[in-house]
């Protein structure tokens, strides 16, 4: 599942991959150019195979979002209107696992364009509920969902929907991930901690504030 490169990836706190990236995110946020306000950290988020609960938890930061808005710029997300992912983003946040070709495409696009990639929530971090289909063959899963349990006009959708992958994978199973934030969903406090640390130019250690299944 993992390439050797991702398999040998070290803990984010000690990781070499995360540090330069978060520094650059911090630099771009803090480097004051004379006269003009510091550039905000740009953030993009996407919702892959998940339930949107992690994005809901993001919104649960409530009034803290207003303070965050001074430091971050949401350039692409289900939570904002813009429909295209910019070419260069400081922090990419992915919710959900890699279950179909669209998820795979999105993850690769995010990895390419985001300096720092964050896996948000258990589906992104370990596959979680979407990955519970993995012990079964994909054909059997589709049969079960679209034929066995359907009484009226059973049919398998093929048009306008991305093809399902045989095995559901966590994000780091297909692209390199810098920060892992487990939890189902991670509490708003945990997300706030991670974002605050990144904005301050530090590498967060999410194990202090969240866990699998939190």
């Amino acid at each position: 599942m993992n390439t050797p490169a991702t398999a040998s990836m070290s803990h984010p706190a000690a990781g070499t991959g995360a540090e330069p990236a978060s520094e650059s995110a911090a630099e771009s946020a803090q480097a004051p150019t004379s006269g003009s306000p510091p550039r905000k950290v740009t953030i993009a988020t996407a919702w892959l195979d998940g339930c949107s609960g992690c994005h809901m938890s993001f919104l649960d930061m409530d009034e803290r979002l207003i303070a965050l808005a001074d430091c971050i710029d949401m350039v692409y997300s289900p939570l904002v209107d813009s429909k295209t992912l910019p070419d260069q983003v400081d922090v990419g946040i992915l919710e959900g696992s890699i279950s179909n070709e669209e998820d795979l495409h999105k993850a690769r696009e995010f990895r390419q364009r985001c300096t720092l990639l964050v896996s948000l929530g258990d589906c992104a971090v370990n596959g979680n509920v979407p990955a519970m289909r993995n012990p079964f063959k994909l054909d059997a899963v589709i049969e079960r969902a679209y034929r066995d349990n359907v009484e009226v006009n059973p049919q398998i959708p093929t048009e306008g929907v991305p093809r399902l992958l045989p095995v559901v994978q966590p994000i780091h199973g297909v692209v390199k991930v810098d920060i892992f934030v487990p939890g189902c969903p991670p509490r708003a406090d945990a997300i706030h901690y991670v974002l605050s640390e990144l904005i301050a130019g530090r590498t967060p250690d999410p194990s202090q504030v969240t866990r699998f299944g939190a």
Partner: protein
């Protein structure tokens, strides 16, 4: 190894753990001394009151003068021993061990009845396991709900064998045992018959209470509802010892 029989005249030895000068009875193990002195060592198969199998290897420590790591649960204290419990090497090994447990079976914490009360989940957090670097095996294991009070979900079993030992050593029923090798290894009731058909099970529930994960649980519990009570074990074990 069996639990040591209480001795009439026990000597006291002195040793150093993480730089702390400590004294201990000579029949104590390293993990017991660490627990008494609030030195945290992760463990999974070890449990106060049960015999020692040294299977999970999470409690491994470094002992000066020895070039291999030893399990704190199965190593007796000795005079002048110098022990390190939390070096970078040990942290790395423990993290890997916990990750392998997660990769082997299907521990989906978010939908587990033991969510929030699970020793494996807690170990992952304390060992800094925020993701699993190995590929998941994705092999499905069976769930046996045939017992009217309890359920076994092999997807969540870590093969610590606490259930096997408590059933044999404390309850005296020996309903549980271990069958198969490698990834086929699993705990079984009687001769791999459904738990509900067992003629030896007394339905005492001790196995459920000592199980560190959501593998052995009460029927009728929902996500996060399975809270385990392990208070009975040291009390029963001590009484058995004194007889």
């Amino acid at each position: 190894m069996p639990l040591p029989a209480p001795q009439a005249n026990v000597r006291v030895v002195t040793l150093k753990i993480d730089g702390l000068d400590l004294s201990a009875r000579e029949d104590e193990t390293l993990i017991e001394v660490c627990r008494e002195n609030k030195i945290p060592i992760p463990s999974l198969c070890w449990m106060e009151g049960l015999s020692i199998v040294g299977a999970c290897r999470l409690c491994m420590v470094e002992v000066s003068g020895s070039n291999r790591l030893v399990a704190a649960c199965s190593t007796r204290v000795a005079e002048g021993m110098e022990v390190q419990t939390n070096t970078e090497q040990l942290q790395r090994y423990r993290r890997t061990l916990v990750e392998l447990l997660f990769a082997e079976r299907n521990h989906v914490c978010s939908v587990c009845v033991s969510n929030g009360h699970c020793e494996l989940q807690w170990l992952a957090q304390t060992c800094g396991v925020d993701h699993v670097r190995m590929p998941y095996r994705n092999a499905g294991y069976e769930v046996d709900s045939s017992h009217e009070m309890f359920r076994v979900d092999h997807n969540r079993c870590v093969l610590c064998t606490r259930c096997v030992r408590v059933c044999d050593e404390i309850e005296g029923a020996h309903t549980w045992d271990v069958m198969g090798r490698g990834s086929d290894c699993k705990v079984i009731t009687d001769l791999a018959r459904p738990w509900g058909d067992s003629s030896t099970c007394t339905s005492c529930g001790k196995c459920v209470q000592v199980c560190p994960t959501g593998a052995l649980v009460k029927q009728g519990t929902s996500v996060g509802e399975m809270v385990k009570d392990q208070q009975f074990l040291p009390i029963l074990a001590r009484r058995r010892h004194l007889r």
